[in-house]
């Protein structure tokens, strides 16, 4: 008798459990693989930007596809791409086949991104890059649209635009050198690390700088892994350069800035130094990184759009770090989910059509994709900004009264201050 009761009790429990679960509607997710080198700043910023987007989108009610609502679920995929391209390719394959992600967002190193792009295209997965700048990635869209149409880039601008921006930044500094130091034809030392992305920059610098009223006194190509550039800096000092035009995408940017500041090399430093975009730069350079000027995407207090300051402050509050361009995952996920809603389906071909219609005010500017699925460059769309470390604080210094042909008013983003020539340079040239 007791046994019979026990069996009945167990059966009742099963029935109750079944009823309980059938009453709960299980949420459905859109899974987005956030791919990046998670042990490094770049991957960490990919992930932080993505998490912020996930929270904001889900708090706003999720993504509506027809009459169904989906929540966004970001899945962290460590590509280890800074150390190994193979690891990156394997990680993306795993994200697609094991984690079953619907979309891929992130990536940093161009070489690894090229490999990951092919895998994503094999599976027709929409892949939005927030980190790699090489033009080959978007050239592939132009040359084989049917295969590569699933690829888009939100940050940074492609390397051609970066060259353009950095040369405009150089012109801006040269103007101040002429004005404050009275040097009409500034001498420029070109220091570009030996990396794939540096080659077009070196060629463009040598070809264009002489046409911009400046004189190139030499080109130095240190290794991207160089830990000591004192010999290069000594030679630059000897060359009589007034300005050093730089490109450092990796570690060597830190010892460069440190030794430049510590040895008080009498030349303004301007160009691209990716490490100078991070909050830890001043500490990493032992405080000698002041006055380093680099192309950047975002800066404290600088409002490229209405969304910039809110996003920036939220990111800093949450992470204790300044967002780099890798945090563009925030905008990328918003763009992606809005395209999904407009398409009303998870079919990648339909979403690509909607992605191509994107016109979105992001944190770093207005994002409209061009035919190669790169962001459109220019005032009113996306331009980079110039940031300089002044008294241990990162300041936006460009665009500052920037006037292009066809513009009626000069462009200065709110929160921008004037570039400062390092005091030892002023002293050296009697400014």
């Amino acid at each position: 008798m007791r046994k019979k009761w026990l069996v009945l009790l167990v059966l009742a429990a099963f029935v109750m459990t079944g009823l309980t679960f059938s009453g709960c509607k299980k949420p459905e997710y859109i899974k987005i693989g956030i791919i990046g080198p998670m042990q490094f700043l770049q991957g960490r910023h990919h992930w932080l930007g993505a998490q912020m987007a996930e929270e904001d989108i889900n708090a706003a009610g999720g993504v509506k596809i027809g009459d169904k609502t989906y929540l966004v679920k970001c899945i962290q995929i460590d590509t280890n791409e800074i150390l190994s391209v193979d690891d990156a390719a394997n990680a993306v394959e795993r994200a697609i086949t094991v984690d079953n992600v619907d979309f891929l967002v992130g990536a940093f190193r161009s070489e690894a991104t090229l490999a990951m792009q092919d895998i994503a295209m094999d599976y027709k997965k929409i892949f939005v890059v927030c980190g790699a700048s090489h033009t080959e990635l978007s050239n592939r869209v132009a040359s084989d649209y049917e295969r590569y149409k699933y690829w888009f880039r939100v940050t940074p601008e492609n390397v051609s635009y970066l060259v353009k921006d950095s040369l405009i930044l150089l012109t801006y500094v040269a103007g101040i050198v002429r004005e404050e130091l009275g040097i009409q034809v500034p001498k420029v030392a070109v220091v570009i690390e030996q990396a794939v992305a540096g080659d077009p920059l070196a060629a463009a610098a040598n070809a264009l700088i002489p046409t911009m009223g400046m004189q190139v006194v030499g080109t130095w190509r240190p290794s991207p892994t160089a830990t000591d550039v004192t010999a290069e800096l000594t030679a630059i000092r000897d060359s009589g350069a007034h300005i050093i035009y730089t490109y450092f995408s990796a570690a060597s940017g830190v010892p460069y800035a440190r030794q430049w500041g510590e040895l008080e090399i009498p030349a303004c430093s301007v160009g691209i130094n990716v490490e100078a975009q991070s909050m830890g730069f001043i500490d990493a350079t032992g405080g000698y990184g002041n006055y380093e000027l680099t192309l950047n995407t975002l800066a404290p207090g600088c409002a490229q759009t209405d969304k910039t300051i809110e996003f920036y402050n939220k990111f800093v509050e949450r992470s204790g770090e300044y967002p780099t361009y890798n945090a563009g995952t925030y905008d990328a996920i918003w763009i992606l989910t809005q395209a999904v809603e407009r398409a009303g389906t998870l079919d990648p071909d339909a979403i690509v059509v909607e992605m191509e219609k994107t016109d979105y005010q992001g944190a770093a500017g207005r994002i409209v994709f061009d035919q190669r699925h790169d962001v459109t460059w220019g005032p009113g769309f996306v331009t980079a900004i110039g940031t300089q470390w002044q008294n241990g604080e990162l300041k936006c210094v460009w665009p500052y009264e920037w006037l292009l042909p066809g513009m009626t008013e000069p462009l200065t983003y709110p929160g921008t201050v004037k570039y400062q020539i390092p005091p030892w340079v002023l002293e050296a040239y009697g400014g």
């Binding site: 080198p37 042990q39 490094f40 700043l41 960490r44 800074i82 150390l83 690390e193 030996q194 030499g218 080109t219 130095w220 190509r221 240190p222 290794s223 991207p224 892994t225 160089a226 830990t227 000591d228 004192t230 010999a231 290069e232 000594t234 030679a235 000092r237 000897d238 570690a251 830190v254 010892p255 440190r258 030794q259 510590e262 040895l263 008080e264 090399i265 490490e275 830890g280 500490d283 990493a284 350079t285 032992g286």
Partner: protein, 289 residues
């Protein structure tokens, strides 16, 4: 230009020699090519970073902690992992590179891939032959001279030094004479690790700290040691000067090929080895035990 070249070479050579001396000592006595040597330098840098930047302790406390902990780590690693395998040279090579990689991954785990920095002991710069030299470089040169003097005194004027030299010359005979070669080797590994840690304290403020900083110096240290003759201290110094001179020649004469300086210095090493396979101060292979 000559002044620039001389001063720049002196600066680079002092940094390289600082790292190479300990490595050479380990090979000279224990006959171990310790590929984890520069990883100990990396660990020391992180200990100093933690003590000074995270815990706010004075630099000298960080240096003392780094030297003590790295010596302990090196001696335990040697005793537990390397000593039992000492006769199998290839195994030891793989084992020490394994130790270095484990240490690198641990640093990635604890500190991430961020670039860190430790404070300089002295700030500012001076001018030497018209070239600006930071005081930290001047300190590096001074510490190198003092370190070399101390190592020389230890080797030449103490009973321990006698044991080390005897073991280096003939391990079996030293054993027969009552000197434990295992104990001597352990102590030598400890001294070498202390030198790596001092290098970490002196050199790290000049550069940056991240978990892979051991790899590039390892190539240079290997090149210097092979060039100077494996196990020879004076060979290490001369090797450091030659490698530094070759690198600086590239930077000053072919600035567009500055990235090639590492490869060029290795090319110089190969040329020297073709002429003198045992290195500048090394023992000819056929004469080795």
């Amino acid at each position: 230009m000559l002044g620039n070249l001389l001063v720049s070479t002196l600066m680079s050579a002092s940094v390289y020699a600082m790292l190479a001396v300990g490595f050479s000592l380990t090979f000279g006595v224990a006959r171990i090519i310790n590929l984890a040597h520069t990883a100990f330098y990396m660990v020391a840098s992180y200990i100093i970073f933690t003590a000074t930047m995270k815990m706010g302790l004075p630099l000298y406390v960080g240096v003392v902690a780094a030297v003590s902990l790295v010596v302990l780590l090196a001696m335990v690693t040697y005793k537990v992992l390397v000593d039992p395998m000492r006769e199998h040279e290839t195994t030891v090579l793989i084992l020490t590179i394994g130790v270095a990689l484990v240490l690198q991954e641990l640093m990635f785990l604890w500190f991430g891939g961020y670039f860190r920095s430790v404070p300089t002991a002295v700030e500012g710069f001076t001018t030497l032959l018209g070239v600006r030299v930071s005081y930290q470089y001047v300190l590096t040169i001074c510490v190198l001279i003092v370190t070399l003097a101390l190592v020389w005194l230890l080797l030449m004027k103490t009973r321990l030094g006698l044991a080390i030299r005897a073991t280096a010359q003939d391990r079996e005979i030293a054993n027969v004479m009552g000197m434990s070669d295992s104990r001597t080797a352990t102590i030598t590994v400890g001294i070498a690790a202390a030198l790596a840690a001092i290098a970490g304290a002196i050199v790290a403020p000049l550069f940056i700290i991240e978990p892979r900083i051991w790899l590039s110096p390892l190539t240079v240290v290997l090149a210097i040691s092979v060039l100077g003759g494996l196990g020879s201290l004076k060979g290490s110094i001369l090797g450091a000067v030659i490698i530094a001179l070759s690198e600086n020649l590239v930077v000053f004469l072919v600035p567009q090929g500055a990235f090639f300086k590492g490869a060029f210095s290795l090319l110089i090493m190969i040329v020297v080895l073709l002429i003198r396979p045992e290195g500048l101060y090394g023992v000819a292979f056929e004469e080795e035990r």
